[in-house]
Symmetry: C2
Subunit: 304 residues, 2 copies
């Protein structure tokens, strides 16, 4: 982590995931959008984690998060069980089925931010109800950068509050299917243009194994993914990607187009590591040196 890095506050889910892929199965691994984001961002900047868990959340995981420099004072413990998700990936890892979903304590999540968290200059609104994203964003004093993720479910069922939130965002992160659904445009470039008209300063479209495209009013940046011969488990890759992007911006204070582009390459690098093992396992052993080494490999991969 860089000593001059700005603090990031993230709000989202902390969960236990049971994951089946063609390669194997892992039960009750640490998951959730806020977890993946925090772990990735923690390589670059201090993170305030705002989320809720049940009484079943183990001390060992609290200690692990804290050991990453993540402030868990905003990780509320409520009577009941932690959010649980079970999913199965197809041979084509881009396709997955949700086998079960238990919201548990997450169903009543309605956080009140502490004095310290309100001061955070950088905010990441993980994939939760847009009404809740808005209620959380309201509580911050004066963030200089607000990034936000969403998903099909909210685009379909909470379109209005989501659209109202868009003008307040510096960076909207979503995948290509979500961009199409939100814009009602099939073509991704036109979809992103349409979304930009709704107010966010920039739109970052995730394309999984195909990379990402950043759209802003003045420019477009396209980047491939890091090609891997073995993808173990794509769970959380999108949030890890966002954690790398926002983490780099927090570490450097960069807000230029080129800074944002480099941030996206760091996000790409982090995501490429995350999918190498189940859940967040690979992030547990990852070092900042690993990240820099693959960043240089990524430069070599794309230069012409």
């Amino acid at each position: 982590m860089d000593v001059s890095a700005q603090a990031i506050a993230v709000v989202g889910s902390v969960a236990f995931d049971t994951i089946e892929t063609p390669i194997g199965r892992a039960e009750d691994v640490l998951g959730g959008s806020a977890t993946y984001f925090s772990l990735a961002a923690s390589f670059f900047a201090p993170v305030h984690l705002v989320a809720v868990v049940g009484e079943d959340f183990p001390d060992a995981e609290r200690e692990y998060l804290a050991s990453r420099g993540i402030d868990i004072s905003g990780l509320e413990v409520r009577p009941g069980r932690t959010f649980r998700w079970t999913g199965r990936y197809h041979e084509d890892l881009n396709v997955r089925d949700t086998l079960s979903l238990e919201l548990n304590v997450f169903a009543d999540f309605r956080p009140t931010l502490s004095e310290e968290v309100r001061k955070a200059p950088i905010v990441y609104l993980g994939n939760i109800d847009p009404d809740l994203q808005e209620a959380v964003l309201e509580q911050f004093d004066d963030p200089s950068l607000v990034a936000c993720d969403t998903m099909n479910h909210w685009i379909t069922n909470s379109r209005e509050p989501l659209v109202e939130l868009l003008p307040r965002l510096d960076l909207l992160v979503l995948n290509d299917e979500e961009a199409r659904l939100l814009s009602r445009e099939q073509n991704v470039a036109r979809a992103a243009r349409r979304i930009l008209e709704l107010g966010p300063r920039s739109v970052l479209v995730k394309r999984g194994e195909y990379g990402a495209i950043l759209f802003s009013p003045e420019s477009v940046f396209a980047v491939p993914a890091y090609p891997l011969e073995e993808v173990f488990d794509p769970t959380g890759a999108g949030d890890v990607f966002a954690g790398g992007v926002v983490g780099y911006l927090a570490a450097t204070g960069e807000r230029s187009e080129m800074g944002l582009r480099r941030a996206i390459v760091y996000g790409t690098v982090l995501a490429s590591y995350a999918v190498e093992d189940f859940g967040p396992e690979r992030l547990r052993t990852l070092t900042r040196d690993d990240i820099e080494r693959r960043y240089r490999q990524f430069v070599a991969l794309t230069e012409f």
Copy 2:
């Protein structure tokens, strides 16, 4: 075209296509793998076109090809009708149905190359029967660069002759689905590794709107596609891409990794223009200046 450019010989199909897309319909437009390849490559180097057409092939199209500096002395005219294909694209332009296919004179295509064509230093074997590709390749004196395309149909039904051809190729061009089918590996990076083991010097995997990846024993190069807000018709984009790649290599004599990478970016640029109108219409008005302008835009699109 560069005056010092090396000559390219291309063998493949010349056809008339009837194309339906969500945007419109075009009847009997000039098509075929050899046509698209030749038109794209003709921006960079002299091209010998080796193909067959029926007596219905209009003088105007012969004149158009010749006006592009394409040598059509190897464009045989046979009694009967020219190859015809009719296809319909879905809303998702990555998916298309073949509505009809008439091989016509193409069914008995078995070219004998002229003295001049045999001397061509660069050979492109368009998507035809691998036995025929081999029979044509045999006739060349001593080509310094051999590139080759194929498709699912040949991978499934002519696997053995195709695999026998691979060690003789400098560059195999195929899409990701074809790479999976040929290698029997789901992961594209592993698929390409497996194909490299079969003998081609490098494997260029086309991913349509997602770009391309070049695999060689020592390195990997990944490049996104040029994002377009309007894709009119993807027909022929793969052959135009290959025509740009091989054309640039012919124009510059480049055989280095960096040269091949730049060639792939030129192929990407050519393909991005080709899809802006039905069939090869956009290529009719395209200029070398247009190509250089979009190449510079592509640099700006991808730099970080």
